[in-house]
């Protein structure tokens, strides 16, 4: 577990280090101008210390060493043991650059291209002497001469370029022990510069070029806080919304202009009719009519010209606003390689952990994704890959026997499809066996035998997304605990507003497919009305919208269902899930609008009052005060400025299923068992272990029965003890734990009792023997603790 998680921590470290390094760099620049700035030095030291600690935590010892050396120097400066000299600036910059390089390449072999030892020893030298040992060749001479370590000035004052190099003589090792001769120090620095440069043959060219490059870099990019980008995006989406309103107003104005034209036309008709009237009356009106004529004409002209000018302006602004929005969104786009790059290392660790031979192929690393999505996507992907290594890829011998290459292949690919990114994790392993999944589902009480029989293979594969479900035949410390795919799927749907699907062919491999929106900010949503209020439902989880005849609704055991495509779908009024009041409304010809959700292989029909339509919406959070609200994932602002809640599909699914009673069966079972204290039989020959286990279970409220060996345990079971679970050791006199397990599992009256093997036998073959015997869980004593034991037992007792 610890090994596996490291990649995730390294990413976090990198994030933290970026900020620390920026502050450290800025600190050095400021210190150069104000060497006596004590608060700054203190802050700097704290940052360096944090860097040291964090890098050590994630195993990046080199960074930790460098940070340590820098600290040593700065502590002396702080304590007045030596003055801060501008020369130090270069040493610090070199060290910080090295840290940046190491942090960026964390966990990759590239780090070895850097001569860390050399750098740290030079820093140590600086700490000891106060004189930079670093590649000060690039240092402008005047700075060196202004420093307190004037002794070094003569050589440092030499031209920063070519001339310095040939003096190279002393090795850095020698320098470190050389306390006094500053000249030597400087000379050796040139040598060091050469060794730092990767492949350059000329030491002098390297620093110069590096300097140039970093300067270019600072000009080309600006570091901006993500919160600033987010605020900008917020404002942009406001502009977009008012632009939409403007466009509506253009249409209104055009209509007004059209009315004015019609009015004038009507007026001219009236006038010509009036001219037929007797002359007296005409005269009386003539003057007024002419004025009215003019007024109407100028009103029409004015309205038409305003409408036209406004329309032109608006369409121009629309184009600009469109670009603005696109560009603003782009600010947050990063290539997926920023996440993928840590995977080869993670995969190597995983492969080693599971003792598999696996090759990872990555494709489409340059596909761009919203930074927010990227931040969230690492963990689900690692989880899926872990699953692939653990359950997908077979042991080498098995693969060769099946005619496959001994090493398994896991392919990770990303590509853009329309406004979505598709990420696939595919393996060429054993595939998901629907029969095995069904069997496990039946054993664990998710399905009845008959439900399993009528279930298609495709549906069966989706069972792996069930809460607490595990495809593993047995629970071990590292897998099969059923914490996995359900969480991944929920995460993908809830946080990333995407979907996760699985496709598998037995013997050929498995493919997980994540479809996620390009940006978290915009999704397609179905707008619907319930109790007079509008809600948005992410379209990605809506399988179907339909208006069903009341006669199509079937009542089963007090619950309403409909049949769609040979499936029975439970129905629940969305109003009930949301706890809203019913309101009077006209039904559309008696038909009932139903939106069918599909999530985690389950379907749920939501009865709503009306469908409003489907459109792109901008997702916003509920604000800082409402951290989490059941059933609501966020809000959006519609064109008219109306705020509309976005519903959370996983929440609706969980709460809706509770209302429909889809979970009744399982919760009912649990209640039945919980009616009395649960009973555990412990078979263990060691007195200490037996009493330890007894105390654990008793503390958790179990009734505990014990047996000192397998034979005694079996006898007690056959006497009708009927415990909720059996916890057994393996090596026992008379009858081993494996034999006991086999006996229990082959006895029809006892086979339903979960068996948990707790043993010091840790070899894979022994685990395999446990699996073959039919044990439900296998816990090795080396990782034994009371939480794992209790958790495992509770998981199995359903």
């Amino acid at each position: 577990m610890v090994e596996f998680d490291r990649s995730a921590f390294i990413a976090k470290f990198q994030e933290e280090a970026t900020d620390l390094l920026q502050r450290l760099n800025e600190g050095i620049i400021t210190l150069e101008a104000e060497p006596g700035n004590r608060p700054l030095i203190d802050q700097w030291l704290r940052d360096a210390h944090t860097l040291k600690g964090s890098s050590r935590m994630v195993g990046l010892i080199e960074i930790s060493d460098i940070a340590h050396r820098m600290e040593d120097i700065m502590v002396k400066v702080r304590d007045g043991e030596m003055p801060y000299t501008p020369d130090m600036t270069d040493s610090f910059f070199e060290a910080l650059d090295a840290v940046v390089f190491l942090a960026e390449n964390a966990g990759k072999p590239a780090a070895s291209e850097f001569d860390i030892d050399d750098l740290t020893s030079r820093l140590a030298g600086l700490a000891a002497t106060g004189v930079p040992q670093a590649a000060s060749v690039a240092e402008p001479p005047q700075e060196a001469s202004a420093s307190a370590s004037e002794a070094s000035a003569p050589s440092a004052a030499e031209p920063a370029t070519p001339a310095a190099a040939p003096q190279t003589s002393a090795s850095s090792e020698a320098v470190q022990h050389d306390e006094a001769t500053d000249e030597d120090d400087i000379h050796s620095d040139d040598d060091d510069a050469a060794s730092v440069g990767e492949s350059s043959s000329s030491a002098e060219a390297q620093p110069a070029r590096q300097g140039e490059k970093s300067q270019m870099k600072t000009q080309a990019t600006v570091r901006i806080k993500t919160s600033q980008v987010d605020r900008l995006l917020n404002l942009v989406s406001e502009v977009v919304i008012s632009q939409i309103k403007d466009e509506q107003r253009v249409r209104d104005l055009r209509m007004a202009a059209g009315l004015s034209v019609e009015m004038q036309q009507l007026w001219s008709r009236i006038r010509s009719t009036m001219s037929m009237l007797p002359i007296d009356e005409q005269n009386m009106l003539d003057a007024d009519m002419r004025i009215f004529d003019d007024l109407l004409g100028s009103q029409r002209r004015s309205l038409v010209s305003i409408a036209k000018a406004y329309a032109d302006d608006t369409s121009r602004t629309s184009a600009v606003v469109g670009d603005l929005q696109e560009q603003a969104m782009e600010l947050r786009m990063l290539p997926v390689s920023t996440v993928f790059n840590s995977f080869p290392r993670a995969m190597r660790d995983l492969a080693r952990q599971y003792k598999k031979d696996v090759e990872l192929i990555i494709e489409g690393g340059d596909t761009e994704l919203d930074k927010k999505v990227l931040e969230e996507i690492n963990d689900p992907l690692v989880h899926i890959m872990r699953n692939a290594v653990d359950h997908g890829i077979e042991p080498a011998a098995e693969r060769v026997a099946a005619g496959k290459p001994a090493a398994g292949t896991i392919k990770l690919s990303a590509r853009q499809e329309g406004d979505h990114i598709v990420i696939e994790v595919s393996d060429d392993g054993a595939g998901i066996d629907p029969a095995r999944v069904k069997a496990a589902a039946v054993r664990k009480g998710y399905l009845t035998e008959s439900e399993a029989k009528s279930m298609s293979d495709r549906e069966a594969r989706y069972l792996i997304f069930e809460k607490g479900f595990s495809t593993a035949a047995i629970i071990t410390e590292i897998s099969g605990r059923g914490v996995g795919m359900d969480v991944v799927r929920e995460f993908v749907v809830e946080r990333l507003k995407g979907s996760l699907d699985v496709d598998s062919e037995l013997g050929q491999g498995t493919r997980f497919r994540l479809t996620i929106p390009l940006t978290l900010a915009i999704i397609r949503a179905l707008l619907l009305r319930v109790s007079g209020q509008t809600f948005a439902l992410p379209t990605s989880s809506v399988e179907e919208t339909a208006r069903v005849e009341p006669s199509e609704i079937i009542k089963v055991e007090g619950h309403e269902v409909i049949r769609r495509q040979r499936r029975t779908i439970p129905l629940v009024p969305l109003r009930d899930i949301l706890g809203l009041d019913a309101i009077e409304q006209d039904s559309e010809g008696g038909k009932i609008p139903v939106a069918t959700l599909a999530f985690s292989g389950h379907r749920l029909g939501l009865i709503v009052d009306a469908f409003v339509g489907e459109q792109q919406i901008v997702i916003k959070t509920l604000g800082t005060h409402l951290k989490r609200v059941d059933n609501v994932a966020g809000v959006t602002i519609l064109g008219a400025g109306e705020v509309v809640p976005i519903l959370s599909v996983p929440d609706l699914m969980a709460n809706g299923r509770q209302l429909t009673g889809a979970r009744m069966r399982r919760t009912g079972q649990v209640k039945e068992k919980q009616a009395g204290p649960r009973k555990i039989l412990i078979c263990e020959d060691s007195f200490t272990t037996r009493e330890l286990e007894r105390s654990i279970f008793e503390a958790a409220g179990y009734d505990v029965e014990t047996a000192t060996d397998g034979a005694m345990g079996l006898a007690r079971l056959r006497e009708g003890l009927n415990p909720d679970a059996v916890v057994t050791d393996v090596q026992m006199p008379n009858m081993t734990g494996f034999e006991l397990t086999k006996a229990i599992k082959s006895d029809e009256t006892l086979a339903h009792i979960p068996v948990i093997i707790v043993t010091s036998l840790e070899r894979d073959e022994e685990k395999a023997e446990g699996i073959n015997a039919g044990a439900d869980a296998y816990i090795t004593k080396s990782v034994f603790n009371q939480d794992t034991l209790l958790e495992t037992v509770e998981r199995l007792i359903r």
């Binding site: 002209r301 004015s302 604000g623 005060h625 951290k627 609200v629 059941d630 609501v632 705020v643 809640p645």
Partner: protein, 191 residues
């Protein structure tokens, strides 16, 4: 004629811009008050039902009028919903419900509500619905007494203190307590 219309449109835009600038100026103008509060504290008075309360000016971001509240299902009674403040979503807190004070205003949800004081601390922002907004008063630090001991516990939690001014006892609300995030811990995983 058309010139006239354009001028009117211009004037409209200018007045909108002025309004925005005015609001901004108002929010900026609070900083100095905050700064020289070494001795005294600025309090913004407001009325709930028949009683007057106050909120420290340092926690007030702006006054918001004319807004439409969107109800959010299954939130505590004290949260009326959310509003859109220039693109930012802000929760609407019914302070009267929270501190159990009878409020006389007819709260017309989905319609117009009385004025709201948008309060913020480092983490959270919320709009407090009040019946009437009063003046800003300056009180010396020492003048703020602990909350009345006669308050029941639920109410006392939301009060930072009380201050006696012009014959009125004014409760000073505790912004940090009011702004405690809602629904922070999630147990959605439990089946």
């Amino acid at each position: 004629m058309s010139m006239h219309d354009l001028t009117a449109a211009n004037a409209l835009m200018t007045s909108r811009a002025n309004e925005i600038l005015r609001q901004r100026a108002a929010s900026l103008a609070q900083a100095p008050v905050d700064e020289d509060s070494g001795e005294s504290t600025g309090l913004l008075k407001f009325r709930l039902g028949l009683e007057w309360y106050a909120v420290p000016i340092s926690g007030v971001r702006e006054i918001h009028n004319e807004y439409v509240v969107t109800r959010i299902p299954r939130v505590p009674d004290s949260v009326l919903g959310v509003i859109n403040v220039r693109g930012e979503i802000v929760s609407v807190t019914d302070l009267a419900t929270l501190i159990r004070v009878p409020s006389r205003s007819e709260l017309d949800i989905d319609g117009q509500l009385p004025s709201a004081i948008i309060v913020a601390n480092d983490e959270c922002v919320s709009a407090l619905v009040v019946d009437e907004i009063g003046d800003i008063i300056e009180v010396a630090h020492g003048a703020i007494e602990p909350p009345l001991s006669t308050l029941d516990k639920a109410q006392a939690e939301y009060m930072a203190g009380s201050v006696y001014i012009d014959g009125l006892l004014i409760g000073v609300v505790n912004i940090d307590k009011i702004l405690e995030p809602i629904g922070e811990s999630r147990d959605g995983r439990a089946s």
